[in-house]
Symmetry: C2
Subunit: 104 residues, 2 copies
DNA sequence: TAGACATATGAACAAGTATTGATATGTTTG
DNA sequence: CAAACATATCAATACTTGTTCATATGTCTA
């Protein structure tokens, strides 16, 4: 039941770009870190032991794909996941990986 | 509620590798094509206008990550998604992309 | 305004990877 | 066994991309 619809070409491209962005350990770590609470760039860099520059570069990509969103608070900018879609998906995928069950 | 758990380092690696594999349009097209029904390598190549070699290379990667599974049927090998986890996730993500709703 | 602090950007390099073309392995049929 | 068909592998190339270092932009305080 519930016929599956093939994504159109532009949809496939967007989907692939989203997955590609998620397909990097550094970015994933940043995302999961910001999943718990909004984090400043400096906090991300320090906590994850990454250079400030690298974090900023990755945040730019994540921002561009609307995966995260930043709010300026005086000098610092706090980043959080863009919406519930993104966070839910991340949590779901993490569960899938943890389970690693073959149900066939 | 429902506290979110940060994935451990090996889990993050596996997760990133999975996402990275999904982050390529060609592989996504192959996956969605095999989502509808088990497909032979030749069928995939012809239908998606890809070289047989390229399809085989990609299938090897997808096989390695247990995203697809192949069954030999005489000369041909029919590939299908490895399990319901994978197909559900693909369908879910496709929906997310199609919706593109900001719910905040 | 100057200086300190926080983040962003630009250029350059190294490493990874998608794609191609040629060839090898494996399977069936004559 | 040989020829034909289907898939897999190997080597080489072009391209993408993660990371670093240096520098620029933006923000607050003395």
């Amino acid at each position: 039941m519930s016929k599956v619809v093939l994504p159109s070409q532009p949809e496939t491209t967007i989907l692939a770009e989203t997955f590609r962005l998620l397909g990097d350990s550094t970015r994933l770590r940043i995302l999961f870190f910001c999943l718990e609470a909004p984090r400043s760039v400096g906090d991300i860099a320090a906590s994850l032991d990454l250079s400030q520059s690298l974090v900023s570069h990755h945040l730019r990509l994540l921002r561009g794909a609307r995966l995260v969103r930043g709010n300026r608070q005086a000098k610092q900018i706090f980043y959080e996941l863009a919406d519930k879609h993104v966070s839910d998906m991340l949590v779901d995928m993490a569960h899938h990986v943890c389970e690693e069950s073959g149900d066939d």
